[in-house]
Symmetry: C2
Subunit: 451 residues, 2 copies
């Protein structure tokens, strides 16, 4: 046991306990102050990010890092910086996820039961190299009343360190304990923390399936995993061709390195010589590599004129194609004979993240939505919509590929649990039962937390 890890975990639990006695306004204040600290340090943070990017480019050039990872590192790209800060404000402006009553019953006269949302406790969040995640997660943890221990990817160390400093400076200007949000640097610390189930309430690993499974294998603490996104699109027999092309291209091309990008395209076999060639030509023209099963491969090879890039961009699929998160301009393709077969393929091969159907048939849409066992089941819409911002949560702590507690994009609601508060006046269970008093279980309308 690393004593440093234990010190961190004990401090986090103590910070959580102390924070429970502060009003939630203090946490809003912390978010405002942290945003100001980030703005004040923008130049230094982006300079550190440029350093991280430079080091990463060397790794990419040497073939030791993927281009997809490099792209995720860049905090200055597009609207990333502004989105990050806006995310803090958005989270601060969202309604408090704690203190809400989701069940209230009068068990009997003067004996009232309330189920009240409350923070989970101490979160251990392990994430990839996207540096803005430090800020996203700190904001979500603070707003939801949880203490957090954060471990980012080593590739963004310089950026993450300055972001963490800004967060710490912000917290120091509030009544919240300085150890409310802590960052750690090494995998060894993570290993030690995974043993401390008395102090840590939830582990949130974001990354590969291997990372998530490794953590699940090595801790008793509940794990809310954000694993691979192996998202599929199914082109149903009744698919509208224009919608199919639009949805497939956006799902694949809008941001290929994202977990909600399309990795598998499933074609109803009735479309092999009609819609499939049209979709394939559009994908190939956009430089997408296709790993095809025999039927979809044969359909392309039989076309006249031959599609652009056929020889360079179309290859036979292997069984592994359908369980691979490409995160690049590669797409696995297969044909199936029925909607039921598409549902079965998805349930057996997808990562239960987000899958979409393109169809004009309401019955097919309903069967797909009922039958596909994934966090997101979409109809005639791009898989890229699977995202906390887009869903309206302000920001997200991850996209849960598990089913317990929270599923899909996880915002504030996924970071709270609840407790039952029962208020009586000396009430005892022995007064109830056959021949004695009966419970009324009368709903209390408009109940608010009694504390």
């Amino acid at each position: 046991m690393s004593s440093s890890a234990e010190t961190i975990a004990v401090a986090a639990k103590a910070a959580f306990a102390a924070s429970q006695m502060l009003p939630s306004s203090e946490r809003i204040l912390a978010l405002d102050v942290i945003k100001a600290e980030l703005e004040a340090n923008k130049d230094a943070i982006l300079a550190a990010n440029a350093e991280d990017l430079k080091a990463a480019q060397i790794e990419v050039d040497a073939g030791r890092m993927s281009d997809a990872l490099l792209k995720r590192l860049d905090l200055g790209k597009g609207d990333k910086w502004d989105s990050m800060l806006q995310g803090v404000s958005d989270v601060a402006a969202l309604s408090d996820p704690t203190g809400n009553v989701s069940y209230a019953r009068e068990l009997d006269d003067g004996l009232k039961l309330y189920r009240i949302s409350c923070p989970i406790g101490v979160l251990l969040v392990i994430f990839e190299a996207r540096p803005e995640v430090v800020v996203n997660i700190a904001a979500l943890a603070i707003k939801s009343g949880n203490a957090a221990i954060l471990k980012g990817g080593k590739e963004s160390t310089r950026t993450a360190e300055l972001l963490s400093q800004a967060i710490s400076s912000g917290l120091a200007k509030t009544q919240l304990p300085a150890t409310y949000i802590q960052t750690i640097q090494t995998r060894a610390e993570v290993s030690s923390l995974l043993a401390l189930d008395a102090h840590i309430d939830l582990v949130i690993p974001r990354g590969s399936n291997a990372l998530v499974r490794n953590i699940q294998n090595n801790t008793r603490i509940p794990v809310m995993g954000h694993a691979d996104g192996i998202c599929a699109a199914f082109l149903d027999q009744s698919a509208n061709p224009a919608k199919a092309v639009k949805v497939v291209l956006d799902s694949k091309l809008n941001y290929p390195a994202a977990c909600n990008a399309l990795e598998t395209l499933i074609i109803h076999e009735a479309l092999l010589t009609t819609l499939w060639p049209e979709v394939a030509r559009a994908l190939l023209a956009a430089d997408v590599h296709l790993q095809c099963d025999p039927a979809t491969l044969h359909a392309l090879q039989s076309l006249t004129p031959s599609p652009t890039n056929l020889s360079t961009h179309v290859t036979p699929a292997t069984p592994a194609s359908y369980t691979t998160e490409h995160l690049s301009l590669t797409l696995s393709v297969l044909a199936i004979p029925s909607l039921a077969a598409a549902i079965a393929h998805i349930n057996a091969h997808s990562s239960h993240h987000t899958d979409t159907i393109v169809t004009e048939d309401q019955a097919a849409a309903s069967a797909f939505c009922r039958g596909v066992d994934s966090a997101g089941v979409f109809v005639n819409a791009s898989t890229r919509f699977a995202d906390g911002f887009r869903y309206g949560f302000g920001t997200e702590v991850g996209i849960s590929t598990g089913k317990m507690h929270a599923r899909g994009p996880v915002g504030l609601e996924g970071l709270v649990t609840y407790k039952y508060v029962l208020k009586g006046d000396g009430d005892v269970a022995g007064d109830y039962g056959p021949g004695k008093k009966a419970f009324t279980h009368k709903k209390i309308d408009g109940a608010t937390a009694p504390y």
Copy 2:
């Protein structure tokens, strides 16, 4: 890998997939039929239970089984049988926990997002020797749309076997697959099933802390543990004496073998010579053994006249006293100097099940409710109210001592997750962003599931 375990798990997952395409009315039908099967076989089941009890009595007499366990075995005792059947009807009558929309937003014109409750999938439930639990859990699983694999305690094998046969006979009369509810007999099968995270979605172990921790250590599958109930009562400085005596006695004596029975009594030190002696005399008169810290021990030894049973029933506590689930007429007692110290003691020693405060001070009640990190935080009420029936859930699958997904008594709501359904018309993410379309995130009032 036991091939038998894999066969069971694969069959359960297939049964779940098939059930997803049936209307929920089929599941209600199954519950009605199962109840009738149980009624028709009552005599045979109670005869088998008598056999189990006879075998258990031999174990108790030989000192190999606790009396508490024996008590839990008896299906004919009091209103247990009728409660069990009533539980099936109550669960059948409860509203469907699946298909409910908990979040609905128009992301933009014609692009609608729905969060819809749905079953979790395949449950593996491991429980103690209480035979009625087979029926409770089967009813909850069926009503909530989950397939289940059940493993009961070996002490109730004869009873559980007949209960399972009745359930199977019932299922066979419906469209639900015969493998929707399966029972297994051996720990070896449990071990094999714990490796099958592709087929099993949730493990629900009910039993000792050791059982729950052992399972948590040996599976990647999420665990909803029902571990020890180490419940505490705190008598605050302002406690009303009559309420204190009533609440403490009921919490301890109403059903000492239950997980929601009182195990630790915490006394504000201002009450050591006033309320404490009164409570202690009542407990001793009821044959309760007290394991006392020095302050509470000294207070009793100083009393004139000496309390009944002082020499036989009052002993010094050890540190282990405060982390022990006695499940018998033994109670651990300590004095503390403040409300804050009581909260800290409970957070460090209780099993986060249910804790109660006796107080007339609203501020103390609020601080206790905010500060105590347990599933149930009660004010002037017996810990024995922590129960799914009493909370109004119809029945319960267990009382979760974890914080994730479900906490406290777990009824139907704890057995569902949700999925996000997004319905568009060829909508793509690339159309949104700075300088392009914006999301509206308009709330859809009164939304119902679109499938």
